[in-house]
């Protein structure tokens, strides 16, 4: 297992390399550039040329890439074209926000989705249909819209929760908790629906196997059969699905961060894309890729913990 993990981590190095090249090339191919962003409707050809020269953007793209890559080797991701702030500082501010939302959403999805899935697997067919409907609605509803609905209810109407902003937990822990409730819920509701559906399907499949009948025949309690055997055996697919969901959530956080005015990785990436701030965009793309790699590594480890057969591979 450890060897497989190490192999995966080694393979991620060329992946990061490819992502960085793709980001550079795709950004170069999209219309617009930082000079036009800076100058806006006050742009003149002479001013554009002057800014491009100052920023080194008049050089061929491979020269710019090489310059960025040599900086990266020394741990320097460059500076924002606009604020001159080091990219590492910008990302260090935004990464905790995105990670908090993702981890929070995964926790809530698991805590809500698994019990619902387990319970419905032991009940009537109609409860399964209810779970299916919940799953469909949860998956289909756009995070942007769901976020606005939750804001309308819990912030605008009831006034229970703040409608926007990130609070530093070091400064105000209570404020931080309140600030993440709505964005985490926005991301977790579809997640819980998916987890519930997958758990139910997995449980139904496992509960119909022969070894469950054997366990019942040996007199094990229903509770022990459900939690120690059936649930454990059906969680492998749930974990894999959660891994994929985390990847999907990276896009979701971009929208949710916009709705709740939080400057996470997604928001930073959107602003950098609109401004053609290549150093920040490159940094954000790298961080996103690392999050994906780590998410899949966690999936592998968790699956191995649940299934001893996988540990020997």
């Amino acid at each position: 297992m450890l060897r497989a993990l190490l192999r995966r981590l080694l393979l991620s190095i060329p992946l990061l390399f490819v992502v960085s090249i793709l980001t550079f090339v795709l950004t170069g191919l999209t219309p617009g550039d930082p000079a036009h962003t800076i100058l806006g409707t006050n742009a003149t050809p002479a001013a554009i040329a002057a800014i491009n020269k100052t920023l080194g953007l008049d050089k061929p793209i491979w020269v710019q890439y090489w310059h960025w890559l040599t900086g990266l080797v020394h741990g320097d991701l460059g500076k924002s074209i606009f604020s001159s702030e080091p990219v590492t500082t910008i990302l260090a501010n935004s990464l905790p926000i995105t990670l908090t939302l993702i981890i929070g959403a995964v926790i809530v999805s698991v805590l809500v989705g698994i019990p619902i899935g387990v319970a419905s697997a032991q009940r009537s067919k109609s409860s399964g249909q209810l779970i299916d409907a919940f799953s469909l609605v949860g998956y289909a509803i756009p995070p942007f819209f769901l976020g606005l609905l939750l804001t309308l209810l819990f912030a605008d109407t009831l006034g229970w929760l703040p409608p926007s902003g990130w609070v530093d937990p070091g400064e105000d822990f209570g404020g931080w908790l309140l600030s993440i409730v709505l964005p985490v819920l926005t991301l977790a509701i579809p997640g819980a629906a998916i987890v519930a559906r997958q758990t139910r399907q997995g449980m139904l499949e496992v509960l119909s196997r022969d070894f469950i009948r054997s366990l019942r025949a040996r007199g094990l309690s229903g509770r022990s059969i459900v939690y120690r055997h059936a649930l454990r055996n059906s969680l492998g697919n749930v974990v894999t699905l959660l891994g994929l969901y985390v990847v999907g959530m990276l896009l979701g956080t971009t929208l949710v961060e916009t709705v709740f005015a939080m400057q996470g990785l997604g928001s930073i990436a959107v602003v950098a894309t609109n401004q053609h701030d290549l150093p920040v965009l490159e940094g954000a793309a790298l961080y996103f890729t690392i999050v994906v790699i780590v998410a899949f590594a966690i999936v592998d480890v968790t699956r191995a913990a649940l299934n001893p057969k996988l540990r020997t591979r």
Binding site: A43, S83, W160, L161, G165, A261, N274
Partner: protein
């Protein structure tokens, strides 16, 4: 024990669920009670919102949009202050005057005892150095600072500006509205990169980098060296970036913020929610026809065709649909409030909605079946996409097909616009005195708003006459003559003026604005 455990009865499950909800609600309420997160700002501090972060904290590299201006106003006091009624009042300079009859030399007397937030003294030389910094920065405001040929320190507190030509508006240009009068301190000028994450102005406040996260929120604290401490109303001034207008509205309602920029789409809701909607006419919205020589769409070379495009649109309906009560139909390249600077009330509504006349003009020009043109649009520049669709719909009724190319950002639009790939664009233009508008949109070498460098002999003659006019009392008539010729030429297809909108909570005072000073000065805010 889970409430969903197999074998548990229904009677035992429901109360536990209720208990769980109760516990959760109590926790939320408890956290809310001990948190300061959702509370209305205290009188010692204020939080406001802008829809986008400033491009830079260096006035020389910033754009003079409403959002940027708000942030700059806090840290950088301008040489001349633009009061909310549009009059020029003392800022870092206490007096100013032209020193020659040709309006090409301008002197400013600086306030004594002023210090920047870095502790350095304001002198004539620091002003000269700051202006030089603006000239070399090649930022968005370079087009304004390039009106200054040379800046000289006459003595310790007197600055002389030599202008490239007779310029009756240099005083206005040195206000906070155009940023070039926002003077940067010597340390900032010496190290411009430092102005990405800090400020160095002589304004009421200075940025606190420790309490600031770029693109998220900017925290300002009082400048300990400000010359009039009694004018500072807050111990902390926080500017948050909230891009989504609906989120900004929720933040206002909840008391998270006290002020934010508005939008036509949310103004009615804001009013209904008990917020104050501060509004003033500020911009004219238009199709800017660039292809006046017909390089892309040959039909546009004919003045009758351009006039037909103006007659073909129903301005009243378009303005009502797009701006509601916050717009006024019009067809001049200016707005009410600029009567001395190029808005001619007697010539407004020159092109009354008349599709039949539009068809006649098209036929007379040799295009009885209409023609096709391509215009660019972006939603973030004067609600450009909606405006383009509305205009295109009316044009279609007279046989003219407008292909609309949409872009995500202004920067993305400006590339093909300057690259002469578009016959025009939709957008808004913050009303300017005619002198400034000539430099941006009418002169042959105007640049952005005349990318094909079109020249009309009569217009050039009128512009030259205005430039040569040194009797300021005669200038309004000269500007009006230019406006009438611009309307006749049909270089633009304006639909009318739209308001700048700002929302504030009722207890916030000092939010004042006018067509010339259409961005409220945040240093005047108080509870």
């Amino acid at each position: 024990m889970s409430p969903f455990t197999a074998g548990h009865g229904r009677a035992g499950r429901v109360p536990r669920t209720l208990v769980s909800i109760g516990i959760a609600a109590t926790l939320v309420a408890g956290i809310a009670a001990c948190s300061s997160g959702g509370a209305v700002a205290q009188s010692s501090s204020i939080t406001v919102a802008v829809s986008s972060a400033p491009l830079s904290l260096d006035p020389a590299k910033n754009s003079n949009t409403a959002d940027s201006q708000l942030v700059m106003d806090l840290a950088y006091e301008p040489l001349i202050n633009l009061a909310s009624d549009g009059t020029l009042t003392p800022g870092l300079a206490t007096s100013w005057k032209y020193t020659d009859s040709t309006l090409t030399t301008f002197q400013l007397k600086l306030r004594s005892g002023v210090k920047f937030s870095d502790g350095s003294k304001l002198t004539a030389q620091t002003v000269v150095d700051s202006i030089q910094h603006e000239k070399t920065a090649n930022g968005p405001v370079a087009i304004y600072v390039n009106e200054i040929k040379d800046a000289k320190a006459i003595d310790a507190h007197t600055v002389q500006l030599d202008l490239v030509r007779s310029n009756p508006t240099i005083g206005l240009t040195l206000t906070q509205r155009f940023l070039i009068g926002s003077i940067v301190g010597p340390k900032g000028v010496a190290n411009p990169d430092s102005l990405g994450t800090s400020t160095d102005g002589a304004g009421q406040y200075m940025l606190d980098p420790k309490q600031t996260v770029s693109n998220d929120h900017y925290t300002f604290v009082p400048n300990p060296y400000y010359y009039d401490k009694s004018a500072i109303h807050f111990k902390k001034f926080v500017v948050r970036v909230i891009a989504n207008p609906q989120t900004a509205l929720s933040a206002l309602k909840s008391g998270q913020i006290s002020y934010a920029g508005g939008a036509f789409s949310t103004a009615t809701q804001a009013k209904g929610d008990g917020l104050v909607v501060n509004a003033t006419a500020s911009s004219w919205y238009s199709v800017f026809l660039f292809d006046r020589d017909g390089a892309l769409a040959p039909a546009l070379k004919d003045q009758r065709v351009r006039q037909a495009l103006n007659y073909a649109i129903d301005r009243k309906s378009i303005v009502k649909a797009l701006f509601g009560e916050y717009g006024t139909p019009g067809d001049e390249a200016s707005i009410k409030g600029y009567e001395k600077d190029g808005f001619d009330p007697s010539y407004n509504d020159h092109y009354n909605y008349d599709p039949a006349k539009a068809k006649q003009l098209l036929a007379a020009a040799g295009y009885p079946d209409g023609f096709t043109l391509t215009i660019g649009a972006t939603a973030v520049f004067g609600d450009g996409v909606e405006l383009a669709q509305a205009v295109a719909s009316d044009w279609a009724k007279v046989g003219v097909t407008a292909k609309i190319q949409t872009y995500s950002t202004v920067g993305d639009l400006v590339g093909p616009w300057l690259g002469k790939q578009l016959s025009g664009t939709t957008g808004e233009y913050d009303a300017q005195p005619m002198y400034i508008f000539i430099g941006q949109g009418l002169a042959k070498d105007a640049g952005t708003f005349n990318p094909f460098q079109t020249e009309d002999p009569k217009l050039t003659s009128l512009i030259n006459a205005a430039y040569a006019e040194t009797d300021q009392s005669k200038l309004p008539a000269a500007w009006n003559a230019i406006q009438r010729q611009v309307v006749d030429l049909g270089w633009f297809v304006p639909v009318g003026s739209g308001d700048s909108l700002y929302y504030s909570v009722k207890k916030l005072k000092g939010v004042a604005l006018s067509p010339t000073a259409f961005v409220p000065d945040p240093t005047r805010f108080h509870f």
